[in-house]
Structure formats: C-alpha cells, structure tokens
Amino acid sequence: MTSPILHVEDLKATYGPVQVLHGIDFTVFPKEIVVVLGANGAGKTTTLRSISGMIQTSGRIELNGEETRNLTPSEIVRRGVAHVPQGRGTFPELTVEENLKVGAFIRTDKDIKIDIDTCYENYPVLYERKTQMAGSLSGGEQQMLAVSRALMSRPQLLLMDEPSLGLAPQIVEDLFTRFVAINREQETTMLIVEQNAQLALDIANRGYVLESGRISVEGKAEELINDDAIRRAYLGA
C-alpha cells in the first residue's frame, strides 16, 4: 500500500491532571475516509486537537512522514491539514463569503475565487446567503460553511469533529453525501470523529473505536458495521 498521509503512534495527551489519551496508534492513507467512533469523553476531540497542534502531547504524529507534533497550528495548516472544530467552526460576525476568504488565508495563489465558486456549487444555499452574517445561518448551513471554510485552504487531510452534532437527520444525511462527493472529486482525505456510528461507517473506508483514551477495535467499515460489540454499543442493535 502507499505511504500514509497521517501516522500516529503512542499518542498521549492530558488536560491538567487528567490523562485523556493513553497512547493511541492509528494511520490514515491518502484518499481514505477514516472514522473514529467513541462515546462522550472517550478522547475523540482531543485526538483531533492533538493532530492540529492545539494542545501539548507526547508520542509521534507524522504527516507525510514528517514529525509535526511540536509545530504550531498555523504551521500545521500550511502543511495541508484543515480542522472543522466541534460546534461553531464559523466566524459569526463575518459574512459567508468572508468566512470562505478567511479559510484561504494561507494561500497567495490566484485561484481563490475559483475555489469559492466550487464551495457555492457544493452547497448552493451558501451562494444564496453569501452576503449574510454567518451567525444568522441555521445549524446545518453553519456546518456546510465550516466544512467549506476548511476546504478553502486546499487541505490534503480534513479533520472533522462530530459534523452531525445537533443537526436534523435529513440534514446530516445530505451533509455526509456531500462528504463522499468531495472526497472523490477533490481527493481530500478525511478523518471524521463521530458518535453517529451508522452514518459515519456508511461513508467510511475504515474505522477505529476509541474507549476511555484507548483504541479498542479497528477495521474496515463493513466489518465494524457487522461487529457484535459495536452493534450493541453504537448502533442500538
């Protein structure tokens, strides 16, 4: 197989006195959609924040074979990682179009306008609302904007923290369908952290299950969907 885009080894993270990650290992290969499942407090958000340099960690985090654990968030973004944080990933006091321009902050090329148009093609509702303040959008529209904002940096790897949180099922389904399309069309590798296991496994190639800061199960998405333990814990079957 090709060399991994992201390789994480023995990653440990603490918040104050509490150890959240107890040495986890996982790998993401180019063009994959990988999902990390887990309950509240399992360490999913911490895992993503470690990768994008938002918190201090120990262990190894390699992007395209290079150690990035000690880089600042702004350096990591410049190496092709975009991160859609949980909940509010938008700039509420900026217009939709300005949000997209902020997403392209690290870029100096001439194609920013073209990419903004691509975002509008992905999510036509954003075009209709381009001069509105992001804070006035609905929850689903905000999530579309947050994802588009992240894509504007032309990332190789897109990290998404519970994109389904607080959204109506129909909206979540549309959102995830677009993720697959974006993954195919723009060849963006995705690492998605989710509690909605069914939906996430439907679109993912592979998955990991995080329990209390340790990886308990890993495998191909179709295997995980049929795994009894996972069905009981996450799929309500």
């Binding site: 968030p73 702004s74 509420p92 902020v102 902050f105 804070g135 904002r149």
Partner: protein, 296 residues
C-alpha cells in the same frame, strides 16, 4: 438660541476628539474584549513625541505622522512584551497590566516633559470659518470632526478590504477557528494594538491642538473617562458607534449640563456616566454594538 448653537458646535468639537480615543479602545476591545486603560496615556505620550519632533524643527504634519508611527511601534512592542504571554481569555491579569502601563507611561512622560502645561502647535488653520451673530464655527472644529470621520473611513477600509484586516476581524469573531485557518494570533493582535495607538496619537494631538487647551502629562485623564464612556455608549465593538458615543458625550457635557440648572458644572463627568447607564439599560450592547450571536 445663539448660545445653544455655540454649545452644539462645542459638543461636536469635543465629541470628535473623544471619539478618536474611543475608536482606539474599540479596536482593542473588538479583538480581545479587553479595555486598554493605558490607551489615553499611550496617546498622550504620542502627542508629546509629536511636540518634541516639532520642537526639533520637523514640520507639523510630518511630526504627527512620525509620532503616529512611533506610538504604533511602541504599542506593538508593549503587546509583545507584556500582553501576549497571557491567556487572552483571562482578563484580570491583562486589565491590571494595562493599569500598570497607564501609571508607568504617565510617570515617564512627567519625568521627560515635566508637569507644566506647554502649548501645542496649531494643526489646523486658526480663526473662524463661519460666524453667524454670536455663533462661531472655528476651523479647528471643522477639522477635528473631519479628521475623526476620515480616520473612521480609513480604519473601516483597512478592516474590510485588506487581508490583515480580515484576519483581525476573524480573530475578533472566533479565536479557535482563526488559529485553525492558519492565522497567527499574536501578530494579528499586535497589528490591532499598533493601529489603535496610531489612531489614539492622532486623537491626542488634535485634542492638544485645541486653542483653549495645553499639553501636559495628565491631560488625558478626563478625556479617557469620557472616551471609555463614549466607546461603551456606542457599543464597544463598533467603530461608528464610537463616533456616535463621542458626540453624545460631547453633547451631554456642553449642552445638557448647561441647561439643567440643578446639575453643577463640576458634575458633567457624572452626567455623562448617568447617560451611559440609561443607554445601557435600554440597549445592553450599546447603540451600534453587536449583540452576541451564539448558536449551540
């Protein structure tokens, strides 16, 4: 009637200078929700630098521009040395630092230039542009107001049309997502500090150039309170709100207090604060301030 009109003119004149200092505070507040209590003193120091440069023979407006650059660079240094190492979300240490800077800058200015009031050179043509019966509209008033509006336009253009301006507004709006978009928070806020100090220095220079005032290290103390009130009144995160707030405070100070006999003249400061209280009761985020937009 003439007296009334004259006082409205005075209100606009004073209000414009308060607005310029208020704008500086609004810039910092927008980015960090922090009130920089040293803003007035930074502006005073900048105005003294302008005076010094002028005494050395540099033409007046050249001195003002160099003074603005000087205080911008100084503010960038202060931000780097004293502000950046603290968590921007934890306000108490930062407020104490800005109060400390307030005292230090005041003392430094007093050591260098003494407490004796000195006259400040004319920035604008002297005399009156317009006289009607007993109402005199001085060139100074026109230019003070004009400069204020001009500064607001320049700042607004900078914030909405340039990349650094966009980054600055992004940082004000969502710190975490700014970081995740590759914006370097420290230098962006530093830019805000520099910009604020430069605007403040222009404000203090115009204030000191008022023919009826002189420059001395404590000159901004009163103006600072009026300016904070103006900024809060307009909505602490709105540039144009600062102008509205400044004009309102100027109006309260020179019109309301004059016509309400039971408010003694010495109470004009308190009257301004009472007006602030009334406005904030009715509109907690100020006249033009953004109401917090949050969706969970």
């Amino acid at each position: 009637m003439d007296l009334f009109l004259q006082r409205v003119v005075d209100a606009i004149t004073n209000g414009s200078t308060y607005a310029l200092i208020a704008v500086a505070m609004v810039l910092i507040f927008k980015a960090t929700t922090l009130i920089n209590f040293a803003q007035g003193e930074q502006a005073m120091l900048g105005a003294f630098a302008v005076l010094q440069l002028w005494n050395w023979g540099i033409p007046m407006w050249g001195a003002v521009i160099i003074g603005m650059l000087f205080s911008g660079i100084l503010a960038a240094g202060l931000e780097r040395a004293f502000i950046r190492k603290f968590d921007p979300a934890d306000h108490l240490p930062l407020v104490i630092i800005t109060l400390g800077l307030f005292l230090v800058i005041n003392a430094v200015a007093a050591i260098i230039w003494r407490f004796d009031p000195q006259s400040f050179p004319q920035l604008f043509p002297s005399g009156n542009a317009f006289t009607y019966n007993n109402v005199r509209l001085s060139w100074y008033s026109i230019f003070a107001f004009g400069s204020c509006v001009l500064v607001l336009f320049v700042l607004q253009t900078l914030l909405t049309r340039t990349k650094i301006g966009l980054a600055f507004r992004a940082v004000s709006s969502n710190l975490e997502s700014s970081r995740l978009s590759g914006i370097k928070i420290g230098p962006t806020l530093q830019f805000g500090w520099a910009l604020a100090a430069a605007a403040g220095t222009l404000g203090a220079s115009i204030y000191a150039a008022n023919p009826v005032l002189q420059i001395e290290p404590s000159m901004m103390l009163r103006a600072l309170i009026f300016s904070v009130t103006a900024a809060a009144l307009g909505g602490l995160d709105s540039l144009w709100g600062a102008l509205i707030g400044g004009l309102t405070i100027g109006f309260v100070q020179s019109v309301v207090v004059q016509y309400i006999p039971f408010i003694p003249n010495e109470m004009s400061l308190s009257a301004a604060v009472v007006v602030l209280l009334i406005v904030l009761t009715l509109r907690p985020s100020g006249v033009l301030g953004t109401r917090a937009v949050e969706r969970v």
